[in-house]
Amino acid sequence: MRHTISVLVENKFGVLARVAGLFSGRGFNISSLAVGETMDPAVSRMTIVVDDQGSPRIMEQVEKQLNKLINVIKIQEFSRGESVDRELILAKVKTTSATRSEILEIAQIFRARVIDVSPSALVLEVTGADDKIKALLNLLARYGVKELVRTGKVAIARG
């Protein structure tokens, strides 16, 4: 199962390496990781999606080990419903004159934007939660997704 944790860290060089090293050194799996400054430029926020590999006890260790890092200020694990989350993807979809309009129709339904067009491909930009992105990619698969770039999930607590 996947868990989303939001980690406030000091915005210093090497912090990402410490976090990444912790995951690799202890055999924890990162599904995605997104980092950026907060309103306070001395503090960054990492949104990390962790795969517990079927052992929920791992999450307790992940949190404790992250907390142990000197540069980590605060950790929040979001359980379902407590947060809203989004991911942005760019997908380069193979097109022909025959499929283009179909793809555009799908894009419209998913509120995806077309940000580049060429005779053989379209680049779609779409933002959404997991389910939506998964559904869209499923639909696009039959046309051929030549390239896919994802930001990784970002999440924020509700309220």
Binding site: V9, E10, G14, A17, R18, G21, G25, R57, E60, Q61, K64, Q65, N67, K68, L69, I70, N71, V72, I73, K74
Partner: protein
């Protein structure tokens, strides 16, 4: 003030008395400042020796040990020593010089990303790129190294930062947003622990290095006085509870006593204090202590529930938690349990065979006899380490220094040197094998030059004994790489370094040789020719549960 100067100012303010290290081009500015400050610098003959000496100093005294080395090879040579300190939670500050900031990343001469290299083996580390940050970093480093669960902190200081000027004063306090160790245990959890103790019929205290680090020995003794709970300790905690007490079970685990392991396996309550349920302790984890509730006191929350389930977790400093516990604890009814333990102790004592050659265990017993137990004992790693743990009854904390977690051969001798600097008037002995002593033998010079009365007891069996033992028991005696052909003449070697060397080939010569060595005011190397193929027993084979011990005495 120059960076190098503010560093030394900081070290003085942190109470540093001695630094172990090795010079080089990237730390020359720091070394230049040694002339101006009342800190003793000890030149070891290898940077690894410096790191272990700082570690030994720290373990013996409880203070933070400091070592210094230059960039690339200097820093990488510290690595084993830093990792050793990290695994055993030893407070240490390691200083390294770095190439000038402008050259970092260019593969300059003697450049290495030592901060990257040591990231997984330090509690924290720093590359200081701005001299204005240096005073704060030094303050933080000492604070981090010595507080919470202690550990090594490395500061990498580029040469130009050492030379640059700063107006920042040395701070009075370290303020770190993300670092607030919890010292006081939660009162509710301590109450739960007291209730568990009152309800227990077969309790055992399982005490680890955290109890030593927190100075919990007195509170632990008080707890046992009040409750009569028997105590077993890990290798790291030998001496925290007197092994001469009838309630001491000695060490547990792979080479622990049978009665300690039986007690753990049969217990209905394990109170772990500053220990981490390492695999050498638990054996096969799924069969570990099946009937026991587990209470776990530790200042490091990651230690809790890492390897075993925990019923009563208490996050906090062992000493402070036991102090609170002692105010409310009441003994459970464990008369029959104590009777059972007494009979196990009688039935399954530690023992060894006397084959006519010098039994290595006998040498350890004689070391105890010769010193009256009043000594700081260091060991290397392997059979020498286990026999010392088994056959020398430790009664005070910080008198047994050994690399437990990392298991570093070559640790003991430089650690003994460090310990001797912490306690110039105490007897300090390194118990070594003929293999491991050769890993940092160059430090004989350090001992001789500084007129340190350190004694080295070599249990010379001509093998890398522990691995040979495994090959004998589990690999059909196919000895590969474990026969030490061409060992040097250790007596001549000692003499070549300017130390005293004594060889002993007969059992009756053991005690007189030890007495002679202890009388000698300088370093002595004692070469005991011991029985070659002696094994460490009892032993839990890898993968077995800790009740399934090979006693070796059948």
């Amino acid at each position: 003030m120059k960076g190098a100067k503010i560093l030394l100012e900081g070290l003085v303010k942190e109470g540093v008395e001695v630094i172990f290290g090795y010079p080089g081009g990237a730390v020359i500015d720091i070394f230049d400042e040694f002339h101006n400050y009342p800190i003793k610098f000890i030149l070891t003959r290898h940077e690894q020796g410096a790191a272990h000496a700082a570690d030994g100093y720290a373990r013996a005294s409880g203070k933070t040990g400091v070592c210094i080395a230059t960039s690339r090879p200097g820093g990488t040579n510290l690595v084993t020593g830093i990792a050793t300190a990290y695994m055993d939670s030893v407070p240490m500050v390691a200083l390294t010089g770095q190439v000038p900031t402008a050259m970092i990343g260019n593969d300059a001469f003697q450049e290495a990303d030592i901060v990257g290299i040591t990231r997984p083996i330090t509690k924290h580390n720093y590359l200081v790129t701005d001299v204005d940050d240096l005073p704060g970093v030094i303050k933080e480093a000492f604070h981090i190294a010595s507080s919470g669960r202690p550990g090594p902190v490395l500061i990498d200081i580029p040469k130009d930062v050492q030379q640059a000027d700063t107006k920042r004063p040395y701070p009075k306090k370290a303020e770190i947003a993300g670092y607030k160790p919890v010292y006081q245990g939660h009162p509710r959890q301590i109450k739960n622990l007291a209730e568990a103790i009152a309800a227990a019929r077969k309790p055992v205290l399982y005490v680890g290095g955290g109890a030593v680090a927190s100075g919990a020995s007195a509170e632990l003794r008080k707890l046992v006085e009040k409750t009569s709970i028997p105590v077993t300790t890990t290798l790291m905690a030998l001496g925290v509870f007197p092994e001469t007490s009838p309630l001491s079970l000695g060490m547990l685990g792979m080479h622990g006593t049978q009665y300690a392991n039986f007690a753990i396996m049969d217990s209905d309550l394990i109170i772990a204090a500053g220990a981490r349920f390492d695999d050498r302790i638990t054996g096969k984890i799924s069969e570990f202590a099946p009937h026991a509730r587990i209470a776990h006191i530790d200042i490091d929350p990651t230690s809790l529930k890492k390897n075993v389930r925990v019923d009563v977790p208490v996050v906090g400093d062992v000493r402070l938690v036991l102090k609170e516990l002692n105010k409310i604890v009441k003994p459970g009814k464990c008369g029959p349990w104590l009777k059972q333990i007494r009979s196990w102790k009688k039935e399954f004592p530690l023992a060894y065979r006397d084959t006519g050659l010098i039994p290595p265990q006998y040498v350890i017993e004689q070391v105890y006899k010769a010193t009256g137990g009043d000594a700081i004992i260091c060991t290397e790693v392997g059979q020498n380490q286990m026999w010392t743990a088994q056959f020398y009854p430790f009664t005070e904390p910080r008198t047994f220094l050994s690399s437990g977690g990392l298991g570093t051969m070559g640790y003991g001798f430089p650690a003994a040197i460090g310990a001797q600097f912490a306690f110039p008037d105490r007897t300090v002995i390194d118990i070594a094998g003929d293999g491991s002593i050769q890993m940092n033998i160059q430090e004989l010079t350090t001992a001789v030059v500084n007129k340190l009365p350190v004694k080295v007891v070599i249990l010379n069996n001509g093998y890398l004994g522990m691995v040979r033992q495994w090959q004998e028991l589990f690999y059909k005696k196919r000895y590969a790489g474990t026969i030490l052909e061409g060992n040097p003449d250790f007596v001549k070697l000692a003499e070549a370094y300017g130390a005293m060397g004594i060889r002993v080939e007969e059992k009756k010569g053991v005690l007189p040789a030890l007495k002679k060595a202890l009388k000698h005011p300088g370093p002595v190397v004692l070469d005991f020719k011991v029985a070659g193929e002696e094994n460490v027993y009892p032993m839990v084979p890898a993968g077995a549960n800790i009740r399934q011990m090979i006693s070796g005495m059948a």
